[in-house]
Structure formats: C-alpha cells, structure tokens
Amino acid sequence: MGYKVRIRVENVDFYYGCVQALKSINMDIFSNQVTAIIGPSGCGKSTFIRLLNRMNELIVNSTVAGNIYLDGEDIFDSRIDPVDIRRRIGMVFQKPNPFPKSIFENISYGLEVNGIKDRYYIEERVVSSLKKAVLWNEVKDRLKESALKLSGGQQQRLCIARCLAVEPEVILFDEPCASLDPISTAKIEELILELKKDYTIVIVTHNMQQAARVSDYTAFFLLGELIEVGETHNIFTAPKDKKTEAYITGRFG
C-alpha cells in the first residue's frame, strides 16, 4: 500500500452551541487516494468535511476540540491562517455555485485573491485548469460569456476547475453530484478518478454505489460517530461492524 498520511484527525469533537455534532473522530486520510464519507442524513458527514478546511468556524457559536494535522501541521494552531488552509484544502459544493462573472473570471478569481497578477500566467492557469476539469473543449470559444449560462454539469466542472486553479493539495467534495443528472454524474466521477493521481480527495456522498465506484477508502458515520473506516472493497463485501452492514445493505436509513 504505502500511501502516506495526508491528513490525520485526532480525537475531534465538534459542537454547535451545546449540541455535540461530532464525537471523538479519529481517522487518517491518505495521499492520492479517494476517501468517501457515507452515512444517513444528520450523521455529521458534512459537518466533518467542513472542519477539514475550517469552513465550519464561519458559523457562529461553534466549538472544536481535538487536532487535525495537514502534513503534520495542526491546522487549528494559532499561527496558522485559516485563509491559507482554505487555499491548500479546496472545496466543491453540493449545488454548483459559480460566481456571476464570466467563465474566465471565475477561474482567474482564485489566482487574483492570492496575489497573482501576471496576466500570461493567469491565462495559462485558466486554460490548464479547464483542461484538467475536462471542460476546455466545451467552453474554449466562450470564455468571456457568463458562467451562469452553462448547464448544471458544466457549472460543476467549472467549480472544480476554479478550485484546481489555486493548486490545492487536498480537494473536498461535498455531495458534488447531488443535483446533477446521471451522465454529468458519471463525467464527474471519471474526473475524480483522474484527479486522484495529483490530489488527495475526500468525498461526502449519500449514494453508496457512488462511494463504491469512486473511492479507495470508505468511512461510515452515524449520529456524529465514526463507526468504521477501511478499504472500500472490504467495507462493501465484508464490513466489520453490524451497523455498517445494516446501513450498506439498506436495512436501515
């Protein structure tokens, strides 16, 4: 196996006000692998993934305990800038959310806010990101058009390209295909399989077959706890925990 640990989650608890949403989470996320997070609604999987890029602290009145290490550095350390973490750990959301700007500007935005001014460099990066997201051929003649004119599947790939442009190390996908048709979903799943060669990927999905198709590791969450995590082929043929089995065979949830 020999994949190194990219993110280590150690004894993490998370509270919304007084309500505990995550209990004692311990898991490793490996480099250049796709880790899927599955579980029924309300199990904490979205809460968990948003913790990894510190998006959750934008919600008032939330508390985190425990440590999350990215390449050995604690992302909650006071010397670390959360804004920088969010560049290194990118996120693609459930509903495509392109900016109401042109296609080109959507992608150059990330570069601009991170201080890159060189126009040629920006252009080159926009093109390469669109190519990596397998969107280039569909939009190369209309980069100046509004991004909102694209179809749902194209918009989501644009959001992926936008994320790739700032060269993250880890990409988090929060139910990325939930609002897409099956063909767009298939395209994005293929894209994820390609992307894992260069990036570490974590994907939250409520679709178990998707987790089975796309991931190398699967983690099952239930009521804020991590019940089981392991290699995907083991989880889906012979899970160790009865609750995991009950969930993936559809006997509950």
């Binding site: 890029n53 998006m55 934008l58 008032v60 804004v83 920088d84 969010r86 560049r87 290194r88 990118g90 996120m91 959301f93 509903k95 959310n97 392109p98 900016f99 109401p100 700007k101 042109s102 935005y109 990330g110 601009e112 806010v113 991170n114 058009e145 509004s146 991004a147 909102l148 004119k149 959001c159 936008r162 994320c163 700032v166």
Partner: protein, 284 residues
Amino acid sequence: MRKDITQKIGFSFLFICMAITMLFLVGIILFVTSKGLKVISWEFLTQAPRNAMTAGGVAPAIVGTFYLTLIAILFALPLGLACAIYLCEYSPKGAIVNILRISINNLAGVPSVVFGLFGLAVFVKFFKFGVSMLSGGLSLGILVLPLIISATQEALQAVPYSIREASLALGATKWQTIKKVVLPSALPGIITGVILSIGRVAGETAPILFTAAAFYLKGYPKSIFSEVMALPYHIYALMTEGAHPDKQTAIAYGCSLILLLLVLSVSFIAIIIRQKQRSKCYGL
C-alpha cells in the same frame, strides 16, 4: 362557477385600482407638461432670471439643484455603503444589529423639515459653513442616508451565501470576498437605491429652506460656500412670494416640468447601467 366569477371580480377590482393609479401618474405628467411647456425654451434653460423673476430663465436653479444633489450623493453614498456593509457582513448577529437597524429606519421617518433645522444648527451655525451649497447638500445627504443603507442592505442580502462560501473556500479573505464578489453582484440593487435617492434629493424643499437656498441670485455659485438657487425652492418661492403671479405661475410649472424630466432621465440612465451590469454578471 362561483369561484370563476369571484376571481374575475377580484381581477377587475385590481385592474381598476391600477387604472386609477395610472390616471394620477399620467394626469400629473400631462398637467405639468401642459402648463409648463409653453415657457420652456433654450433661453429658459440656459439664462439667469431677469426682471424680478418674470423673465429670463432658471439656469441657476437647475445648476443649483445639480450641485446639491451631487454633494448629497457624494456624502451619503460612501457612508451609506460602508454602514450597510458593516451591518450585513461584519457586525455580530444579535441584539446590537437589530437596534442599529431600527435606529436607521427611524432616521428615515424623521420629517424632512427637521433635517432642515438640524442642518441649520449644525452645518450653518456650528460648523460655520453658513447658508451654502455645502450645508444644503449635507443636510440632504443625511436625509437620504437611510434610504441608501436600506437599499444596499437588501441588495447585499440578496447575494446568495453560496457565492460567498465559494470565494472563502478558494482562500479569499472576507474583505476580498465583499469587494470582488458580493459588491459587484449587489450593484444592480445598489444602483436602484441611488436612483431613488437622486429623485428624492432633487425634489426636497424643506431641508434646503434654511440651509442653502436663495430666491434671487445674480450669478452662479462661486464655491461650495455660496448660496444656491434650487428648482424645488424656486417653485415654492414663485408660488408664495412672487409679486407677479401671472407670469410666475407659468415659470413655476416650467420648473416642475424640468424637475420631472431631470429625475426621469436620471432613472433612465441608471436603468441602462443596471441592465448592462446584469447582463455582464448573469448573461441575461
């Protein structure tokens, strides 16, 4: 069958109300136009008044209204924008924000003549700006500040949270997000607020009564500390203090017509700007 008839009655009633409203609107326009059109001429628009306001033009009043509006907007827009951004994006949610919001709404309810008195006390007397374009412009600015804040707030709140999230997830700071994503998206709404404000400012009489306006000035204002003529005040003065009502009434209508056209054309320009901004952002 009963439901169908009830619906028809309902719609007819609504239509009648709409028709009455349109009647008023069209009526005012026709009324002002018919009574004021005859005095409009090139001379009227470009010359200063002569002969104790019975001849000549109202150019200084037009110019005065323009300057007052400019000062008011220059004062209120940045201040209002900043307040709205603070309230929407930065202030901690809770009791404080609500108190601030209520206070601003209350400011909007203050009668305009009170702004005039306030301006007199503060700008004219305390700051010693005197009765001037500056005092008048600032008083009008305070009048229109709540309007701009409300319109901007609504425009900012209409920008979906998902867009802000997307920006933050790329490693942008909150301010970068506001400056580069939220404000451009909210621009159409903000421009609407500015349009409404311009219309309001151009037509207000009470705040400039004590702070800026003069009836008869020989020339154009020399500096921001000079007194100015203004269209709304001119109309008021002509109708109440004018010694030659036969000619001056017509001039008053002429001024009304100009004021109306001024406000309508500003609206029109702003609508065009808004449309262009919309198509750039949303591809509509």
